[in-house]
Symmetry: C2
Subunit: 153 residues, 2 copies
């Protein structure tokens, strides 16, 4: 818990910064608020339309790989290994910009998504709307998910 | 773990649904993939500009209250209680639409944000950009955070 407080304070220093002021990424990376599993939530947003595509998890290694290669790499909790988005479906995400929030506990990825982000073939994973005591589908697949090999990445 | 698999299967049924097909919200709520603390991540996005404002956590009660009142209510992990966004700052979020992702483990809130979403006085919490081995501030406060009582909600 002490560790968490110390981490937060380091990144929260940017609260008072003017536009253009910066911290070294290496130091920030050491102080991101990864959870007890070493993971941090990452939101993927289409860079031009600003559609929110999905939320997944990253670890230290996937953050570094993403910045190095420019192709988004998450950490799959179900498979407990690095997950290079699109490795089975071909629907990759090219990183346009990476942002951090004020507390250093969430990542925002502005991406150029190839085809659908969702394993169902839909552009976005957020295709269910809650309204009037119902949850309704509001988006159709762009392509047949069977052509994405019919499996969740 | 068996419970998690059962939950996921219920919501994943919507994968095959056409636009307009629905499930009862009460059943979906019972099967959302809350974590071991009873929480689910929620992304807040400004409904018109599509700017991603923040990420926070909700529990079952905060989801129900948000739908009932139309004002976004989170669950504060630091204070371990319901957190009606804006209760100390006055900067509230009016719900325009609530969406769920394909796995039922993340919420997307389309909101009408009053003033800044961030406790620093900035519109969005994602004001730090990672680029060229630096993390740089890219957004200025809309208002002096001291006028928000100078404290994080």
């Amino acid at each position: 818990m002490l560790c968490r407080i110390a981490n937060a304070a380091m990144i929260k220093a940017t609260e008072k910064y003017d536009i253009g002021q910066s911290l070294p990424w290496a130091e920030v990376l050491d102080n991101l608020l990864f959870n007890s599993e070493g993971l941090i939530p990452a939101i993927a947003q289409q860079f031009d339309s600003r559609e929110v595509l999905m939320m997944a998890w990253m670890n230290r290694e996937s953050l570094q790989e993403t910045l190095k290669t420019g192709r988004v790499c998450y950490f799959s909790r179900s498979r407990q290994r690095l997950w290079r988005k699109g490795e089975s479906s071909g629907q990759i995400q090219l990183l346009q910009e990476m942002r951090l929030d004020c507390d250093g506990d969430t990542i925002l990825l502005l991406v150029k998504q190839t085809g659908p982000a969702c394993h169902t073939g839909r552009k976005s994973c957020f295709y269910n709307r809650v309204e009037d005591d119902k949850v309704s589908v509001i988006e159709a697949p762009l392509i047949d998910p069977a052509s994405l090999y019919g499996k969740h990445e």
